[in-house]
């Protein structure tokens, strides 16, 4: 009985230690059921591309087709990506795949964002991993000159990708790559707009240095007040001008007669 219990305990521990990967739910598209958002103009869409792009639930945000992430890691990333979405008001998607369905990485990235029901403005990060090569791509989706283009111009996108690839993808650290991507995307957004935009004309805590301004203002006001108080209060504390004025410096003599150490008191027997 004891052996059975021990075996069961070890089994449970073993199971809990195993990394659990779960493939995201995706739906195949057919010509009869294209599963595209209503705002997509089908007359301008390349049907071949559209049919190759998986249809997904837009709320999931993390689509790990290549099974590079565990469920716990996905959950952690999901929280972070939602924080980014809430702070910036932009949408964000992370995709890992090992099959581009014959499309280029760029077409796959933009197609994935455009043909699923994501917000009009947002960013997408795709990790393409096969045995031969590893590639990453970042797409910024939105109308020209919108917030997403201002925050992530081509130069910024290149910087982000270069940094993420060099520090994480190269070391097969895919979860680190995703975390770094969200962190950098967030950082560049704040750098561009100075703060998180909640709505038009509003700002939210995080960008504006209120605390610093209040502390500095308090200290400066205190100094000014003390200086003014010391200037106007008790002016009669000044030095004796009369005696300074009367002292004749030409005839003044201060001569040192001696400056010698005081002999220590002898406490010995002598």
């Amino acid at each position: 009985m004891k052996k059975k219990c021990l075996f069961l305990f070890c089994f449970i521990v073993l199971i809990s230690c195993i990394k659990v990967n779960a493939a995201p739910i995706s739906y195949s598209r057919t010509k009869d059921n294209l599963r595209v958002p209503k705002d997509v103009d089908l007359s301008k869409v390349n049907m071949d591309t559209l049919l190759k792009i998986p249809a997904v639930d837009s709320k999931a945000k993390i689509y790990d087709f290549a099974d590079l992430l565990t469920e716990a890691e996905e959950a952690k990333l999901f929280i972070k990506i939602n924080e980014y979405i809430n702070n910036t008001g932009l949408d964000a998607v992370i995709v890992t795949t090992n099959d581009l369905q014959g499309l280029s990485l760029k077409d796959y990235t933009y197609g994935f964002y455009d043909y699923n029901d994501f917000s009009n403005s947002g960013i997408s990060f795709v990790i393409y991993v096969t045995e031969e090569k590893k590639s990453i791509f970042m797409g910024n989706n939105g109308i020209p000159n919108s917030e997403v283009y201002k925050a992530y111009p081509d130069k910024t996108v290149t910087e982000i990708l270069r940094y993420v690839y060099k520090n994480h993808i190269d070391q097969n650290d895919y979860v680190g790559a995703c975390e770094e991507f969200i962190k950098l995307a967030d950082g560049f957004y704040v750098k561009t707009f100075g703060s998180y935009k909640v709505g038009e004309g509003e700002t939210e805590e995080g960008g504006f240095p209120w605390v610093e301004i209040l502390i500095v203002s308090f200290v400066l006001s205190f100094i000014v007040s003390v200086l003014l108080y010391s200037k106007y209060d008790k002016p009669q504390r000044r030095v004796d001008q009369s005696i300074k004025k009367a002292l004749s410096s030409t005839t003044m003599i201060v001569k040192s007669e001696y400056d010698k150490p005081v002999a220590e008191k002898n406490t010995g027997n002598s």
Binding site: F208, P209, E212, I213, L214, V216, S217, F218, L220, S221, F222, V224, S225, L228, Y229, Y232, D233, K234, P235, Q236, R238, D240, Q241, S242, I243, K244, K245, A246, L247, S248, T251, M252, I253, V254, K255, S256, E257, Y258, D259, K260, P261, V262
Partner: protein, 300 residues
């Protein structure tokens, strides 16, 4: 006017030429002052209606400095001080005390004296930077000689040496023999301090100044006066009248003094301060700095 009464105030030779010179004594603040005006009812110092004809004081061989600042100049100086004093209570600003500015001659003494002798100090230096390290003690002896020329001291206890010293940039080369005509449009405050007391006070001031100067020359970290054998020799002492404008007023139970040098316009102001104004000033500065901070943050 009784000639006997006039005689002690002025020089003996001038008595005959002066008519209608009045001396008053305030029973509240005990200030004695003289004026040509026969109908004065209020004290020039405390403003109380408690003055009576008083005993005259004796001033022989006195000198005085002429006024070079007009009463209008004194008004202007007062207004300037009030305008830039942001801590002045609002209730005080409304008071029209400027009209109470008095043009008076203040009795003072001008001393020429020398201080000579030796001073001993104990000096000590720490022998190491270690905390609570022992100190090496030295005995330092200095021989000194100081001359003080035209040391001004007030002979009126209610406007003492402290404020007078602060406005003292008088040019004593302009001293002239006292002429009673000069008090035609002002008053003359009488001395209320004994000459011996003034001399003692001056000697104390001189010795204190000497000790401070020598202390500055002691080349050790800690300095302690061991003993001094300084002797003060007064070579001359002269009674003079210095021209001043002043207002002495009470505000919320406390006395304040506004004093202007009648020769140069040098001023010492002791005006009330308001804690409420200080708080208000702090808040205004705070809001201003916050606004500036916001603008800078937006620009950056």
């Amino acid at each position: 006017m009784n000639e006997d009464l006039l005689q002690p105030i002025l020089g003996k030779s001038e008595v005959e030429n002066i008519i209608g010179f009045h001396t008053y004594v305030c029973s509240t603040c005990h200030t004695a002052f003289s004026s040509f005006q026969p109908d004065l009812t209020t004290c020039i110092f405390c403003g109380k209606n408690s003055i009576t004809q008083g005993e005259t004081k004796y001033y022989y061989d006195t000198s005085s400095l002429p006024f070079q600042i007009s009463l209008e100049d004194a008004f202007a100086i007062y207004k300037k001080q009030i305008r830039h004093d942001y801590l002045l209570p609002f209730s005080f600003r409304g008071k029209r005390i400027m009209k109470k500015i008095q043009k008076v001659y203040l009795p003072c003494s001008l001393y020429n004296l020398s201080v000579e002798g030796s001073i001993a100090f104990y000096g000590a230096d720490t022998i190491s930077k270690v905390k609570n390290a022992p100190k090496q003690v030295f005995e330092c002896m200095y021989s000194t000689h100081f001359d003080y020329l035209n040391l001004l001291t007030s002979d009126y206890s209610r406007i003492n040496d402290v404020p007078v010293s602060n406005i003292n940039d008088y040019d004593f080369s302009q001293l002239v023999d006292f002429n009673p005509e000069i008090i035609k449009d002002c008053c003359l405050i009488a001395s209320d301090v004994e000459k011996t007391e003034v001399t003692e006070k001056v000697q104390e001031r001189a010795i204190k100044n000497c000790v401070n100067i020598v202390r500055g020359n002691v080349g050790h970290e800690l300095k302690k006066l061991s003993n001094n054998h300084l002797v003060v020799g007064v070579s001359s002492a002269k009674s003079i009248f210095i021209p001043i404008y002043f207002i002495n007023f009470r505000y919320k139970g406390q006395e304040y003094l506004f004093l202007v040098n009648g020769q140069t316009g040098n001023v010492i102001v002791d005006l009330p301060t308001s804690k409420g104004n200080l708080v208000l000033l702090f808040l205004v500065c705070f809001i201003l700095f916050v606004l500036i901070g916001c603008i800078i943050a937006c620009i950056l």
